[in-house]
Symmetry: D2
Subunit: 96 residues, 4 copies
């Protein structure tokens, strides 16, 4: 899936922290699934939980993004893959 | 958790569809967890998967929101809880 | 431009308040234009000002949206144009 | 206003292009101001115009951001201000 810069890797500590957070996010999704088994659930309560999961995903994303900036983007010119790194960044940042 | 309008419920078919989609989202989160076990994973590939999950959550949210509008918001004046419904909507919509 | 619900109008006080805020936003845009005449301007300072204008536009949008919900959406079922109102809302909310 | 990296400047061509776009955005804001003078204006039509301006601002922002990445972020390690550049980027990107 690596579109640009072969050999670059997510920092191991950040990878571990991202995993921890995603485990918690999976638990949160399972909580919403149980919530939706209840036929009296109210739309707005479901919506709030969905937004909460998106907020948690934003935080994981920010963690990985900061690590990517620090370890790969600011050094791209030295490495010689600046153009690819910039295009990738623009693509990621427009996603939403 | 119901802050406003007791007795209102998420439409059963929408609830079922939201459940189906959230099961798939849980699977997607588990896919990212496996991806993060690989020490060669690249930051940008992880970020793209996180964004994809957020896109899928946006769609579930839109589904529930449309149902809420259709079944509860447009009828709020008839029911007499318009003020609470409006405040709830504003809160949900600013969330992100 | 009215795609749905002919005869509905923005509340006059909200319209006035929105105008006031947009006058201030126009001033803010003119401030950025002057800033960009300076050849020593720094990218990030320009970006922060652009974001600030977007924040101000978010607030005008929230003002108009709240008024629309209060005066037109919660009464749509009584008026008989609920379907059009819901579709319009979904379109507006996905815009970004 | 420069919080980090003194001496860095927005690329002159990008600055000119950003100015051109902001002139057009100012015109768009003035169009909304005229629209709001009409007492029959419909909420949703105003909201759509506000969103359109935000879309245009997104594009100016993307233009400036790409230039910043290309000229200042990928070279930060060489220049020795990587830490400040990363923190600035994270601040800008979370803004909204």
């Amino acid at each position: 899936m690596n579109g640009c810069c072969s050999g670059l890797r997510l920092n191991p500590e950040v990878r571990e922290e991202a995993r921890r957070r995603l485990l918690s996010i999976r638990g949160h999704v399972e909580g919403i699934l149980r919530m939706l088994e209840d036929e009296t659930v109210y739309c707005v309560d479901a919506l709030k939980q969905i937004k909460a999961v998106q907020g948690a995903l934003d935080k994981v994303g920010a963690l990985v993004l900061r690590s990517h900036l620090r370890e790969h983007v600011v050094t791209a010119s030295e490495r010689g893959d600046a153009e690819g790194i910039v295009e990738e960044m623009m693509e990621i940042l427009k996603y939403r």
